[in-house]
Symmetry: C2
Subunit: 391 residues, 2 copies
């Protein structure tokens, strides 16, 4: 850093995957440079970041180096170490957002549920599971099926094991933890649809984006459509719940708040991510301010932007196909690029494997005579997604 650099602000980011990449793309126009910490050399964020520090997310020396180079710190992955972030925040005087304490709460799914439930935020019924007896007691109470979740380390459905009947119990317990069970079990929610709100907490202000509707398969997000195809009362209720969550959790930044809409139209919070979220990628083209720009604004103490939709919108993940890990060849993106309503986002990953998030596409409607119907937008997004292959 030379003397010329004193005017430029640097945001240090623990994690340099696609979220860090899109955060760096969005931070530059604000005049904010990004440095990422990631263990994988040439991580997805590295081509658009000022620098990558190569190191584990929890490596003390690497996190100290990141703090020393940064004016602000944030994280784009829940595997960051809240204790270490608190330490460097105090030692280097670099504000960390969202609060490391919030990260700690969210990292433990039992504590997350307890915190939400105690504050009156609706969540599915849940019980702590430390051993087989705990699970059996919960099964007596809830009946089958239930969802058994590892308290820590889950990501993209990993660590979440459905228990459909008694023959699943042994395998589920084994899958959660070989050395002792640290889990939470949740009642089965007969949901009408999965929805999410991207919320953002700023300095003395907060905002929420419109309700999105998410389609998962194999516990991986496939598509999001916005606005969600539900009634206004449900959307309003979901927005209120999201605002309660923002009030409850401390620290500035974007939060991805995943919820179930039950068959009775109730909203239950499923999981919270203290960072930009896959279900908010549509905001890049679909909203007045993207979730990534909002996160950069929030964690650097800038005012928040407007969260209005530009138009109805659908997005679809481009997930790795095939059967094995191999170089990231792909074809078929010309179809996406040639479609007037579609935008493409590759994440710059050098290898592909089944269900790996390689990129996403977004289809926006509402322009002139073009179609505004989210069913049609979703159909277009799926058709274009299916054109892209990794062979």
């Amino acid at each position: 850093m030379d003397a010329q650099m004193t005017d430029t602000e640097t945001l240090g980011v623990v994690g340099g995957g696609q979220l860090g990449r899109m955060l760096a793309e969005a931070a530059a126009p604000l005049g904010v440079e990004v440095v990422v910490l990631d263990p994988t050399p040439n991580c997805p964020a590295s081509p658009v970041a000022r620098d990558q520090i190569v190191g584990e997310f929890t490596d003390e020396e690497a996190v100290r180096e990141l703090a020393a180079r940064s004016d602000y710190l944030t994280y784009e992955i829940e595997l960051a170490d809240p204790d270490l972030l608190e330490t460097v925040e105090a030692e280097y005087g670099v504000p960390v957002n969202p609060d490391p304490g919030t990260l700690r709460t969210i990292q433990d799914k039992l504590v997350q549920n307890q915190t939400l439930a105690e504050a009156g935020v609706p969540v599915p019924e849940f019980r702590r599971v430390d051993d087989r007896a705990d699970l059996e007691a919960a099964l007596d109470e809830f009946g089958y099926p239930v969802m058994l979740k590892a308290r820590e380390g889950g990501y993209d459905g990993r660590g979440n094991v459905p228990v459909e009947d008694e023959t699943d119990v042994d395998e589920a317990l084994a899958e959660i933890d070989a050395d002792g069970v640290h889990a939470v079990v949740e009642e089965f929610v007969d949901f009408e649809r999965e929805v999410s709100v991207i919320g953002v907490e700023g300095t003395d202000e907060s905002a929420t984006f419109p309700l999105g509707e998410n389609v998962h398969r194999e516990e991986i997000l496939r598509e999001t459509v916005v606005p969600a195809r539900t009634d206004d009362a449900v959307a309003e209720r979901a927005g209120e719940v999201a605002e309660d969550v923002l009030d409850l959790l401390s620290g500035r930044g974007v939060y991805g708040i995943e919820m179930f809409e039950t068959s009775e139209g109730e909203i239950l919070v499923n999981e919270i991510a203290p960072r930009p979220h896959n279900s908010g990628h549509y905001t890049i083209e679909g909203a007045l301010t993207s979730q990534f720009e909002q996160h950069a604004r929030a964690v650097t103490g800038r005012p928040l932007g407007a969260t209005d939709l530009r138009s109805p919108v659908a997005s679809a993940n481009l997930l790795g196909g095939g059967e094995e890990r191999r170089p990231a060849d792909h074809s078929g993106d010309d179809a996406v690029l040639s479609h007037p309503d579609a935008s493409l986002h590759w994440y710059g990953k050098h290898e592909v494997y089944p269900l790996r998030k390689m990129g996403h596409l977004t289809v926006v409607g509402g322009r002139d005579s073009r179609d505004d119907d989210v069913d049609d937008l979703l159909r277009t997004a799926r058709d274009l997604r299916d054109e892209v292959t990794f062979e």
Copy 2:
């Protein structure tokens, strides 16, 4: 470059100013990495580029290094060397776009005018000026005032000297060239407004963005509003002229085509830039595909995107104020960030001086009940611009 990188395409860019910066921001979602060549360490593009090669735009070794690292080459400044680009194109087999020959044509304002005039593209009357006698002959023919332009090296109005009456002649000749005059003189155009079309030449396709209207002061672009406040026939004519220019010049990429609309509603081409242009910055938020994404698509052989406006739009440059070169402090951008219709783009420049392009802002209209009137959008853009200071 390790074996993992073989799947990632690299675009080498001669020049790493704000155009290179916004090009790198736009290329990343396409899966294209950018390497820039620029003589200034920590140039504006460097934080969002994979790498910066520090060297002069015309440095043979540096341009060879850029070519060796790139799958495609382009330039974001007319000071690139067309001969050297042709050499490395042949030696390294790296396609250079737009064609170096086009750059050569455009670099010489006399040749540019001759090329356009010979093809039937309307331009102001012009004469070659090699000495004082040539200028005096042109003044006899055109009368006062005229515009004397250095044939090479002009940029942002530098090298353009108005000659209002005979007392200006000596100074104008001296300003153009101390060692011998290489200039072109143009008749004074009594223009109604200055307009421009951003055009893009792709592979077997081309496209033009809607007509923009530009406000200059001291020969520097201040604001652009789109659509231009002129009648449909003029806008249509300007689009046709732009298409003729695209047909005439070879090489894929974005071209900024500046034109005069005369008081009689005629269109005359003033100057062409073989690259994204300041008057096209509005496309980032205002059009379906930005000029920077179009340039990245075009020069890498990808399909072009749609050029429709999202809504009426105004943009304003954030130009350095004050009197001397100094560190780039600024304040007042909270007003821009807090306005729901405004977007901010800082260029990451570390020093400010009078009239230096430090950033720009864009105000988009046409949303819900919001205002769609370009006069109002322009007023908002100017008001927000005036909030930003460099003190």
